[in-house]
Symmetry: C2
Subunit: 197 residues, 2 copies
DNA sequence: AAACAAAACTAACAAGTGTTAGTGCTTTAT
DNA sequence: ATAAAGCACTAACACTTGTTAGTTTTGTTT
């Protein structure tokens, strides 16, 4: 018998998840058929079900994998005792930019298609997002209290930061005369520099 | 006979378009069925076709109506001879915020669902967007040349500005202890103030 | 009241949806 | 070699999709 977590098994499942992320991004979750996905993987639609439980499961794995990566990095920043609030914020924004540059498919799907998660996953996801925003607000509030950050509306700033990096999606589409690192530096200066006291 | 452009006719079509915008936003274009839409309007699905040509047409009207409103306002700013570059930019960002606050359904559909436009509408739409970005870049380049704006990467700044305001979507979902005008001022300060020389 | 069009209805269509059942080939473990 | 599991296949299911045809009801104009 082939062991569970086999190399072949693993890579097959990964291939499906990868193709799903790309298709969900390009065509949207609802418009991506299992026959589309199967075609991309090079297999009949029914064969996919030897590797996955459902179409929904694919979306769940993508969304929560991404959410988990964001949460993990945030926790690392929170637990740092050497970084200033502004340095934490900058590192977090850089991480977001990095995710949007290097894992575009998954991140876009997580942002745009998470509403198609079945309950209770959808509710859980929205709740996790709310908490994530709250934790970012607290870093800013901390910074203001310690005199490292200008007096701003923490919630408004968090909304702006999280959304601003979504512009990278369009940068991907029309590769301009600007590199990823130039874009990153420009965004950091524009978004974070102005918060310093 | 009832005249074309009748009050009843007009309001019926408007009702359909309005309901479509709301449903397309909530459920996505692909997941919104004509039977869903008909149910919201209070009519059978087939009856919709006395007022519209197709589901696609509804999306086209929403997307190009919004695009047109953005283009019109941009043109007004471009043709101003009294405003400085930074003042133009601020007015444009305020207009974007205003659209995201007051016409959320249409704007979100335009942003998220335009990919479902049929050709050649999709290509036209993407092209119009590209041109819109280009024109914003030129305002920034102008401001830099005239010494009114700091030396920044115009393209990166435009991407950041256009995307940052998308955060308003989440503000809508979870009405926080912050008003629309507070949010607007906060965003303007965060996004535009830092560009001044 | 007669005429006419606007706009609602029912019924149906062809195509596409995610998914299951059942079968057999291929690979791995004993 | 033999048993077991992995994995792909075909065929089919129950359902939903956007849309059309044809008919009847509603409302306005002459």
């Amino acid at each position: 018998m082939a062991k569970l977590g086999n190399r072949k098994n693993g890579s097959r499942k990964e291939m499906i998840s990868l193709a799903a992320a790309r298709l969900f991004r390009e065509k949207g979750f609802a418009s991506t058929g299992m026959r589309d996905l199967a075609g991309d993987v090079g297999v009949e639609a029914a064969s996919l079900y030897n590797h996955i439980r459902s179409k929904s499961e694919l979306l769940q794995e993508i969304c929560f994998r991404v959410a988990n990566d964001f949460n993990t990095q945030l926790q690392q920043m929170e637990s740092s005792e050497t970084l200033s609030s502004i340095e934490k914020l900058e590192a977090i924004v850089r991480f977001h930019i990095d995710m949007w540059v290097n894992r575009l498919d998954e991140v876009i799907v997580t942002n745009n298609e998470s509403k198609y998660l079945e309950e209770p996953y959808n509710a859980t996801f929205l709740n996790e997002r709310r908490i994530y925003v709250r934790r970012l607000e607290q870093i800013i509030e901390d910074g203001i209290r310690k005199g490292q950050i200008r007096k701003v509306q923490p919630y408004a700033v968090v909304l702006t930061l999280l959304s601003a990096v979504r512009g990278i999606e369009f940068w991907h589409r029309t590769k301009k005369n600007i590199s990823a690192s130039e874009l990153e530096e420009s965004m950091i200066v524009h978004l974070v520099e102005g918060l310093k006291k």
